[in-house]
Symmetry: C2
Subunit: 180 residues, 2 copies
DNA sequence: CCAGCTAGTTCAGTCATTGAACTGACACAT
DNA sequence: ATGTGTCAGTTCAATGACTGAACTAGCTGG
């Protein structure tokens, strides 16, 4: 096999998953992609990650089919989650839940709602109102009780405002038809 | 704050979680702990991880309260998951599911069953028979259709045999009452 | 053809990981 | 008490990854 094989264990799907998203920064990049970050510069600024590392991580995520790189977008390159990338959402949510549970005594740093009916989404991704498992693009993210307001740069501001997942943050660069 | 702050983002529970279990090898160690590995030497052999790194990872996992280190066990030191560590199970399962879905065409490498009624456990951790969310010690793990038999050392052998999670693998060192 | 923006690349310094060999504590037998 | 074995680590040189800052290159509009 010509697998990356950073971890030897061929018989554990966890090992296989970690080959793809287990490196330092990778999962944070994927998180930002869920939150609507699409541009190289925004990832770099948001995460404070060295640009060389960002280049390398984006490359392997694209290669693995987690992200696509769209070079002909108006205003420059855009990185977007694929279906395979979106399928990482339950795992990401589980990690966030754990972090909230053990490190955020004031409550979750962010809460998730079903955009259609404003129902809260539980730990299994199910809407408390309509009972369905909410699809990722229909998830609205909001600041939770444990959120600590600090940062002030525009991108951080944008991704902590109530918004739907996957909705691009800086499409502002394509001058919007209605507003400025 | 005196947090590790490998990742700057204070407002993301994902970042906080990754501070604890995001380093190379850490999640594999936790996985092994779920599968019943408790001893330093078994972790080292199972994972092929340098002993120095293992020492460092175990230390921080104990410090974070994910594992306990019990030095007065018969036969030597034992590492065990705490409640906080066990709470990582949904996240681990989500990562395994993703790996199975996209990298194991022959099906899941391992399957999980409710030990009490042999019901299959779905992606939300729910038993298909009784409908309850199965507690971790009641989960029985088996080789799945995608399992590829290769390794042959005793510990690998043991943790790929049908068994309940958290059940120690090498308690054999405490001579068993019935068998030799 | 210049200024400004974007998406990268380059590179020296630092830090983490690797793998192999070594130490120290305990247990049991001679 | 001496030797043998096991277990849980430590030590260390070599290698590799990450960091941060500066630099390059392509496009856009004036």
């Amino acid at each position: 096999m010509t697998l990356p094989s950073t971890y030897a264990d061929r018989n554990c799907s966890l090992a296989r998953t970690l080959e793809v998203v287990g490196e330092r920064w990778t999962l944070m990049i994927v998180r930002d992609a869920f939150f609507g970050v699409t541009r190289f510069g925004d990832f770099a600024a948001e995460l404070g990650i060295p640009r060389a590392v960002l280049t390398s991580r984006l490359k392997s995520l694209v290669q693995e089919g987690v992200l696509t790189r769209e070079g002909d977008a108006p205003g420059g390159v855009e990185y977007r989650l694929t279906a395979k990338g979106i399928a990482l959402w339950p795992a990401l949510r589980a990690f966030m839940n754990w972090g909230d549970e053990f490190y955020s005594p004031a409550g979750a740093k962010r809460t998730f709602r079903h955009d259609q009916d404003a129902g809260l989404i539980d730990q299994d991704g199910r809407c408390q109102e309509c009972g369905t498992v909410v699809r990722v693009p229909e998830i609205r993210i909001e600041r939770g009780p444990g959120f600590e307001p600090t940062e002030s740069d525009p991108v951080s501001e944008a991704i902590t405002t109530s918004r739907r997942l996957l909705e691009p943050v800086t499409a502002a660069r394509t001058p919007a038809p209605a507003a400025g």
